[in-house]
Symmetry: C2
Subunit: 125 residues, 2 copies
């Protein structure tokens, strides 16, 4: 159970105390290290987080496949992690990364290749 003192410790301290949700996951946002452009959003369980930290390459937990996933393991488009930012309550991370190729499985540089314009999606220029 989370208590108020846990919350204060997470918010104010220098301790890394990742707060996994009820599925055992953190939310991870990948931004390009140079431009800060949003590349993708994925999720990490404790093992994916540990592997990301030990290897310097982004690892995630695939919710659809229910499997550990080293980003780029088939495509070669790995993400070299340059910096990890941690949010106030430590349930979300920002990974500032240098991508070896397109971050999206569609071949787009970013998964966020469309924007909402009225009720439809249009390409991001």
């Amino acid at each position: 159970m989370s208590t108020d003192s846990d919350s204060a410790r997470r918010e104010a301290g220098a301790e890394f105390l990742p707060r996994f949700d009820d599925r055992g996951l953190l939310t991870a946002v990948v931004l390009h290290a140079d431009t800060n452009a949003a590349l993708m959003v994925a999720y990490m369980n404790a093992e994916a987080l540990a592997l990301t930290r030990s290897t310097g390459e982004a690892h995630f937990w695939s919710r659809s496949r229910q499997a550990l996933w080293r980003k780029g393991e088939t495509s070669g488009n790995v993400l070299a992690v340059e910096e990890v930012l941690v949010d106030c309550d430590q349930d979300a991370l920002v990974l500032r990364c240098r991508p070896a190729g397109p971050a999206c499985h569609t071949g787009a540089p970013s998964c966020f290749f469309r924007k909402l314009t009225g009720d439809t999606l249009t390409p991001v220029s």
Copy 2:
């Protein structure tokens, strides 16, 4: 049930078909409209998404309070949404926003005010 043709339609088309997870939520990443700096990560149910779109101000679903949440409703630090980016499988949004004040409830401009340095957290310069 999600099918392959649903997936193709979501990825390739111009239709906005948000894919809520098993808790009825999308992941929303808030970036500063000017700098692309990561401000916060939150979650939206269908109602929060609809209100965000109709008002132009970010609304979320608080998982801890299990309640709809207009960002800034108590602090006044609302987020004016300038652009909504949608990812390939439409289960995550990027909101490029202009914040009226600090985005974090701690008073920091961003919830991501610390980075992971070795095993400890240090302030983002």
